[in-house]
Symmetry: C2
Subunit: 167 residues, 2 copies
Amino acid sequence: MREQGYAAVTSRALAAKAGLKPQLVHYYFRTMDDLFLALWHRRADSLYKRQDDILKSTKPLKALWDLTSDPQDVVLSYEFVALANHRKNIRAEIAEFGDRYRERQMKILTGLLKKKRDALGGWPVMMSVMVLDSLARVLAVEDALGMKVGHAKARGAVGRLIKQLER
Amino acid sequence: MREQGYAAVTSRALAAKAGLKPQLVHYYFRTMDDLFLALWHRRADSLYKRQDDILKSTKPLKALWDLTSDPQDVVLSYEFVALANHRKNIRAEIAEFGDRYRERQMKILTGLLKKKRDALGGWPVMMSVMVLDSLARVLAVEDALGMKVGHAKARGAVGRLIKQLER
DNA sequence: GTCTATACCGAGATAGAC
DNA sequence: GTCTATCTCGGTATAGAC
């Protein structure tokens, strides 16, 4: 899915990787949509767990930025969203996850950032969270594409900001 | 491409929409990759032109934010990036466009924003441009998915910031 | 649980008539 | 330029034997 896109995830390709016959895939997951949903649920659980770990971290902002910047993760998320774009039942689940994930993120960061609103230009905490989140995602996707312009400056600026906030 | 993803763009589907036979698609574009590249070149030209118009606008920041927020546009871009993710020749062209597009964006905004760096928390102009850009994109994609959390707050904050900068 | 056999469909692509 | 005819491949999915 990461290397060739969700469209390359076929019963034949999966079976070949496992050294088995394609029909077995349909034995475990009747349809390919079932399979993608199962895959998504695994992933959602894993993301929630990693989010919880960030709560316990001594530098949650840094940890969050690193998590959201992971190119492997971002490319996978990208594929799931593309998949959601034309499979309605998957879209509903992903949208629900996205909203819930952000709400949890707010809980983690509200306490930390409220005291430092002036260092963040006085913006609402929600806004700062979304800016960091979207910037990390876009940078990672662009990296995967091979884009470069502005990346060093942006990563530098964010790195310094986070260091200052968590000193 | 917007409604069902790039994978739904097939010679058969295109021909059906045009009331013609699928083989004609291959007459005009030998391979489907040729077709996607032609489509991309059209789109790139159009995006460059709209970027130029922003230069002439009296409120370029507002115009830029609106352009980048257009859900139809963003979803299409999303599909092209997903496509690029597993077609190397397309990836190269899209990455090149992305870098060039951002450099042009810098030229448009550097003059405008340099004088107002204090209103932007002292961040480099490049950083402000990328923050606005990535936030607009992520909001639009999330909208398309049906996500809501934080959107009103983020749009409100950005709207006020842009208004203040361009008053 | 894993296999063989098999169905059906729709994708990309080419050859050649008109 | 548009058609008919045709090929090949690879996708999803089911039935039924072992």
